[in-house]
C-alpha cells in the first residue's frame, strides 16, 4: 500500500513537472515571437520615419529652389541619406531588422541641421538677389533719365540740322 502510494505520488510529480516544463517553454516561445514582432515593427517604424525625414529635407530644398537658390550643395547630403535609406529598405526586406534600424538612425542623424543649412542658403541667396536687383534697378533708372535728358538736347540739334538742310535746298521749277 505504501508502494502504491509512492508510485502514485511519483506519477503525479512527473506529470506536474511535465506540465510545468511545457508551460515554461510555451511562455518562452511566445515571448520570443513577441520580441521578434517587436523587432520587425520597430524596424518598420524606424525606416518609415527615416523616409519621412528625407522627404521633409527634400521639401526644404524645393522651397529654396523656388526662390531661385542654387541647391546643388545640399544634394550631396540628400544623396547620402537616400543611399542609406535604400539600404535600410533592403535590410528590412531581407529580415535584418537590427541593421535596418541602424541605417534608419543614420539617415536621421545625417539630416540633422539640414533645414537650418537650407534656410541659410535660401536667406543668403535672397539677400544677394535683393542687392543685385536694387543695383540693377538703380542703374536702369539713371540710364533712362540720361536718355530722356540727352534725348531732349539731342532732338534740338537734330531738328536744327534738319531745318538748316531744308533751307539750303534750292527749289526747282519743273518744266
Amino acid at each position: 500500500m505504501e508502494g502504491n502510494f509512492r508510485n502514485s505520488f511519483l506519477a503525479v510529480l512527473m506529470l506536474g513537472l511535465l506540465f510545468s516544463s511545457c508551460s515554461v517553454f510555451s511562455f518562452l516561445a511566445h515571448v520570443n515571437v513577441g520580441l521578434a514582432q517587436t523587432g520587425e515593427e520597430a524596424a518598420i517604424v524606424a525606416v518609415f520615419s527615416a523616409g519621412e525625414e528625407l522627404v521633409s529635407a527634400y521639401e526644404t530644398v524645393l522651397d529654396a529652389e523656388k526662390i531661385g537658390a542654387d541647391v546643388s550643395p545640399l544634394l550631396e547630403r540628400l544623396d547620402l541619406a537616400g543611399a542609406l535609406l535604400a539600404e535600410a529598405n533592403m535590410s528590412l526586406r531581407r529580415g535584418d531588422f537590427e541593421r535596418a534600424v541602424s541605417l534608419a538612425d543614420s539617415v536621421v542623424l545625417g539630416l540633422e541641421g539640414f533645414e537650418g543649412e537650407a534656410g541659410d542658403l535660401a536667406g543668403s541667396y535672397q539677400a544677394d538677389w535683393t542687392q543685385r536687383f536694387q543695383l540693377s534697378l538703380g542703374v536702369s533708372v539713371i540710364g533712362i533719365l540720361l536718355v530722356v535728358v540727352l534725348g531732349f538736347y539731342g532732338w534740338r540739334i537734330v531738328k536744327k540740322r534738319f531745318v538748316d538742310r531744308v533751307l539750303e535746298m534750292k527749289p526747282e521749277v519743273a518744266e
Binding site: 544634394l75 540628400l78 533592403m90 540693377s136 536718355v147
Partner: protein
Amino acid sequence: MSISDVKLLYGLACFVLCLIIVSPAIGMIVSLPPGERFSELWLLGENHMVEGYPHNVTEGETYGVYLGVSNHMGGVEYYTVFAKFRNSSEPLPDIQNGTWSPLAPVFEWRFFLVDNQTWEREVTFSFGGISVENNVTSVDRLMVNEELSFVNKTCAFDEEPKGFYCQLFFELWRYNMTVSKLEFHDRFVGLRLNMTAS
C-alpha cells in the same frame, strides 16, 4: 521725309534704348516659360554602348550593365529605381495604364537630381542555383550589387527565340509632392536573360 517722321524715328530710337537699359532688371523678375518636362531612363552594355548586353547567363558568372537616369523636369527631383526579376508568366509594368509590376524589388537606388543632371551607376548581377528539369529551368538566387535575394523562379522554355527566359528590369519612380508619395514614373528598362545551366 518730313520733320514729324524724323521726330517719330528719333522717339522710337530713344524708346528702344530705354528698353535695352532696363532689360537686366526685367530679366531678374521675368522667367521664361518652361520647355517640355520629362525624365530619361536607360540601360547601356558593358562598354557604355547600346550593345554588349548580357543575354545567355550561367550560374556563378558576374555580368555588368550601366543604368542611367536624367532629369528634365525643370527642378530638383527625388528618384527611386527598383530592380525586379520576373519569369514570363509574371507581370511587367504597364505604361499604358501607369501601373508598376507588383513583384518585390531585389535592389533599389534613391537619389536626387537637379534639372538637367544625370545619374549613372554600374549594375552587376549574378545567379546561383540554376538547374534544368523537365524542360523548365529554376533559378534560386540572384545577387545584384552584392545584395543577395532568394528569387526561386522557374523559367519556362520559349520557342521564339529558343531558350529559358527570365527578365531583370528596372522601374523608375519619382516622388510626387502634390500627392506626397512615391509614384511610378511610367518608365522601365529590362534585360531578357536566357538562363543556362553551366
